[in-house]
């Protein structure tokens, strides 16, 4: 959409800009909380251990971290009882497809019980706050209301069928709820869990190169989260992003180029699949050859990490005032310096920091929308270019956003009123990129080098680092395995030179923002 808008020189109306910021903003907040409680928490939280928790002591712990109302001993006892009834029914296994009791779990039982309670609370919370997407004329997931030139959701204070004064008031109450949970539950939980895993502030750092395209443009077009990139963990210098310096290699990917020693800019990009790997099921992939369906994008020939950590570091190094304040607050609480951000723990903390600063902005953007509508501006899209007769014979564009999991770019080449070429470089392409022609590793590979693993049968340490990136893989394959009662996810580690490949076997990407 932004790629086509760029190609055709369309400027979207002010209301559309604000609506896009709001939808994306609440998406960050909901997505990051879900990531933490419903995916990443199991890497740190041992549910079974919560059964040993003393509800009284759990209440004391919870009350010491924030004034969130659901923190009584009775409340935690209720959660513990339900958990006990469930575990006693035998279904948890106790090892059903998870690593309960693994020595890498270090939280005391009370912290584990508190986390289980908040996992359940997050379920209800996320369902409510994401109603903002429905209110703004969309749905979740897979938003529908975007169109080239703006948005499809009408704004009109006097219409019941449009975003009106009632909608604005409702949005503000949802956003207040979103913010409270983030500040009183999510952030305190991260700060309560992190001290038990400070060794992970020294593991999983990886590339040290970080990219953000910047996003959430203000009325002048300046992004609230800035654009730029950082090299070699050097926070004293932020380089400007020139998209023409982005190019993709397929040297180690199951595609072919005529000359695979060179990378191609997405405008000239090609996607010619050519599978040369072993016949599945296989146990080993030769990383000296082609070994993945991911291409290897590079910026000025540097591999890059993208995502919340990259955005927060670019903002921090660019002098973004609020980001610096919250980053410094978190570092202060942990008694550590900015160097700990370059790690698995840093990635997890940065996601929380980003949620805090984004949740704060939602009310402000809602006010901005209310003011714009109050001024009598109801325009939501620019349609001058909807008729292809108005298009140039040939045009190229690039559209960029910062999706929750990182930098997302789309490139379009339009010729004779049709799409001549279209390429997307999604966040997971950057992060799980294979090696390039020079043998430079991508972000996941670099981050896993040197990861200590206590038990190769239960490689929870690998998952901690991979999960810290918020991977998008095999979007939605979830077959039930009736024999073992497990879902099939292929989470296993094979002894190999370096590390393994099944982790890098991505089967499909079913949407454009993964």
């Amino acid at each position: 959409m932004r790629a086509v808008e760029d190609a055709l020189g369309i400027e979207i109306p002010n209301n559309a800009r604000i609506l896009r910021n709001l939808i994306e903003g609440i998406q960050y907040v909901q997505d990051h909380v879900i990531h933490f409680y419903h995916l990443h928490a199991l890497d740190w939280v041992d549910i079974v251990s919560a059964l040993d928790a003393d509800p009284q002591a759990t209440a004391k712990l919870a009350q010491s971290t924030s004034d969130w109302p659901k923190s009584s001993a009775d409340y935690f006892k209720g959660v513990k009882d339900k958990l006990a009834a469930y575990v006693n029914s035998g279904q948890l296994g106790p090892f059903a497809n998870a690593y309960w009791g693994h020595p890498a779990y270090q939280l005391p039982p009370e912290a584990n019980l508190m986390a289980v309670a908040h996992y359940l609370e997050a379920l209800d919370w996320q369902r409510d706050v994401i109603r903002a997407h429905a209110l703004l004329g969309s749905k979740n997931p897979h938003l529908q209301t975007y169109l080239v030139g703006g948005m499809a959701s009408p704004v009109d204070p006097n219409s019941q069928a449009a975003i009106n004064a009632d909608t604005i008031a409702f949005l503000k109450s949802l956003f207040q709820r979103a913010r409270e949970f983030v500040e009183k539950v999510y952030l305190p939980d991260v700060l309560a869990v992190a001290p038990f895993y400070l060794d992970w502030a020294g593991i999983g750092g990886g590339l040290g190169n970080f990219l953000s395209y910047g996003d959430f443009p203000d009325a002048d077009g300046n992004p609230w989260l800035p654009s730029g990139y950082i090299l070699n963990k050097d926070l004293s210098k932020v380089y400007p992003v020139d998209h023409k310096e982005i190019a993709e290699y397929v040297t180690h990917s199951w595609y072919e180029y005529d000359d695979e020693s060179k990378a191609k800019h997405p405008w000239e990009g090609e996607t010619r699949p050519k599978y040369t790997g072993p016949k599945p099921p296989y146990k080993f992939l030769d990383t000296d050859k082609k070994y993945t369906w991911m291409k290897a994008p590079r910026l000025s020939d540097h591999a890059m990490e993208v995502g919340p950590l990259a955005r927060m570091l670019v903002a921090y190094a660019s002098g973004h005032e609020r980001v610096r304040e919250v980053v410094n607050y978190v570092l202060d609480q942990l008694g550590a310096g900015p160097e700990v951000l370059f790690s698995t723990l840093g990635r997890t903390a940065a996601r929380c920091i980003e949620t805090v600063v984004t949740a704060e902005k939602l009310a402000e953007w809602t006010d901005e929308l209310a003011e714009s509508i109050a001024s009598g501006d109801f325009k939501i899209h620019e349609n001058a270019m909807w008729d292809p007769a108005n298009w140039p014979k040939e045009a190229q564009g690039w559209g960029h956003t910062e999706a929750p999991r990182g930098s997302l770019g789309h490139w379009v080449h339009i010729k004779d009123g049709k799409i001549y070429n279209y390429q997307a470089v999604v966040p997971s392409t950057w992060n799980c990129s294979p090696r390039d022609a020079k043998g430079q590793r991508g972000a996941y590979e670099a981050a896993l080098v040197g990861t200590p693993i206590a038990d190769p049968e239960q490689p929870i340490e690998v998952l901690r680092t991979i999960h810290s990136f918020d991977p998008c893989m095999a979007c939605g394959v979830h077959l039930v395995d009736a024999r073992t009662g497990r879902e099939l996810n292929n989470v296993h580690l094979e002894a190999a030179n370096g590390f393994t490949s099944p982790l890098f076997r991505f089967r499909v990407r079913t949407n454009g923002s993964c």
Binding site: G93, A98, I460, A474, L479
Partner: protein
């Protein structure tokens, strides 16, 4: 979605429609909806690849009938029926949030005290999981039987879907 009438029975097909047999649950739901009219107390839902997002639909539901591709160890097309506590409900470690699925939903339902009184999972062993919109012949051959089993189960719970006259 926010103001639906309260259903006592939820018929839920899940799966990924673009991965061949992975989408069999959706195929079954689509054909049922085209062929039958369901009474108000039965909510028929194409759950797609959602997991925890479906939790909300369990509130107030007494009977849950799931249709999905299931690895049951048999030949492609082999049918299986799981009931009650045999239906997997657990929280598991996975690679990506896109993997959060039905067992996670049922696990959360148990902890939130909204686990339905009756839960039945009708499954079929898939043959192909590659990208594709079509079912494999072995699975396709079982779709009519699955549809009959769904209708039978609903009748057992006291519901009587009516065939549409076309």
């Amino acid at each position: 979605m926010l103001d639906r009438p309260q259903a006592t029975t939820l018929l839920l097909g899940v799966g990924n429609r673009i991965l061949s047999d992975e989408g069999v649950g959706i195929h079954v739901i689509e054909r049922l909806m085209a062929r039958y009219e369901f009474p108000e107390e039965v909510l028929v839902l194409d759950g797609g690849t959602l997991g925890l997002d479906l939790l909300y639909y369990l509130e107030g539901v007494e009977n849950l009938l799931l249709v999905d591709a299931v690895q049951n160890g048999g030949e492609p097309g082999n049918l299986s029926r799981l009931e009650g506590d045999d239906v997997p409900a657990f929280m598991s470690i996975k690679m990506s949030p896109h993997h959060i699925g039905i067992p996670d939903m049922l696990f959360a339902a148990k902890l939130k005290d909204i686990y339905p009184k009756n839960v039945v999972l009708l499954g079929v062993q898939p043959e192909r999981l590659e990208v594709g919109l079509e079912l494999s012949p072995a699975v396709e051959a079982q779709v009519e039987t699955l549809i009959e089993q769904v209708i039978e189960q609903l009748k057992e719970w006291g519901h009587h879907p009516r065939r549409k006259t076309s």
